[in-house]
Amino acid sequence: MSSKAKTQVERLLAQPATLMLFAWMIVPLAMTVYFSVQYFNLLYPNKSSFVGVENFAYFFTYPSFWTSILNTMLLVGFVLLVTVVGGVLISVLVDDHFPGQGIVRMLLISPFFVMPTVAALTWKNLLMNPVSGFFAWIATSLGMTPVNWFADWPLLSVIMVVAWEWLPFAILIFVTALQSMDREQKEAAQMDGAKAWDIFWHLTLPHLRRPIAVVIMVEAIFLLNVFAEIFVTTNGGPGDATTNVPFLVYTQALLEFDVGAASAGGLFAVVLANLVSIFLVRLIGKSLTAGAR
């Protein structure tokens, strides 16, 4: 076999993965597009018919739809803000050596490995319960009235839980990135009398630019998909106060059995995610494949 033919054969090794992913993406997506223009309810499977843009019209005029988009944006936005800002500050705090550094880092990243359903239920029942939660005890001890978190501040409560889950991810990435920072440069700056703030602003932050971009991209992908945390704590409520786009699609599809409407909503989620990710990939896509042979 000539070496060229051999290379051809070896390239075929990429096919299973590529084909599987292609099927995983295109088959359901094509079905979603098809369902989105059909009237199709799982309870009345024989009544399905073409309805054009009716499902989209239904979704766009459905009050909960706009609420769910706002909730999705608030959830993604605030969690990103907390995790990026908090992550940078905390990773700078634990960067230099101190007694117990290894243990503190382990403590810091632990929440990332807790499954979403556990994280959400632990926060809701053990920490945020207004009667016997840990936060209620702190509030009472300080002479304040305990907050009824999930009833009075439902979206904020969900944001707090999700931020707790994702802050470790940001810390993990930033701590690793800080290790590759030029120590000599930092020491030279210190010798020249640079203040801690100057070093942070002019050396550390620029060094963290790409890691920050990566954290934003990866988190955005996962945060647009937050579901379990809402499912086990508020079930989207009270009313639609914590309903995000994934949760709304889920209620349409598996509770209302309205496949058509759910598909229209699902397509909207796809468009939303792509808008977010197109510009994120532009931001860092180049540097990702920079070393490609």
Partner: protein, 277 residues
Amino acid sequence: MSTAKSRKRLWRNLRTVAAWAVGFAMFFPILWMLLTSFKTELDAFSMPPSFLFAPTLENYATILERANYMHYAWNSIVTAGGATVLGMVVAVPAAYAFAYHPTKRTRGTLLWMLSTKMLPSVGVLVPIYLIARDLNLLDSRTALVLVFALVNLPIMVWMIYTYFRDIPMDILEAARMDGANTWKIMMHVLLPVSRGGLASTALLCLILSWNESFWSLNLTTSQAAPLSALVASFSSPEGLFWAKLSAVSTLACAPILVLGWLSQKQLVRGLTFGAVK
């Protein structure tokens, strides 16, 4: 001079205290869950919270007996493990082809794979649910294995690809000169050299699959439900058994937490598609 020195020391001590405080605060919910799991239901609900209590294993006994913990744990092991094996079997050859026999399209294909991660799960929830239903795969471990493997495949290909890319071509060329064929090069050169990278890739897939909740909740009810779904069943209003909830949560999280601690350094690479080292 000495004041500057003592000031520096003070600053350093403050920093250490602050770092420990933040670490403790982040870990506290997990610690509280662990403590609660050893309390009686009465202690778990008491106000002010009981910090000193006679620890009991009663909750764990109940969970193992009544909640049929082993059934769900087995589902988690089979689905997460199965997805990891399946994913590796498909991802390693693909990464090999991308790293050593690239074409003009390789870069585009890699970015496209990454972009499938951006397809929101809800966008394909309805079709996947219907396909699973029509194939009689609802509430089956097979469906979860396939879905978990596909969801994690892009990350796995990327991660292994970045490990392969760092292996000097010379090693492979030398083996080829010695007359080794592709299979032999893979088995005797590439895989041993990249053992660490492959292990952490598999570990990451295992962790992500174990904790996956969206598909577990939507595609399973009881037969194939993994631990994340079992925990969710404690969210019902009548399930106000916090000590037991804590016990089952601890049992569900402990193995993954330990794996995570052991592999934190290597995980960064996978989680950022090799963009941060």
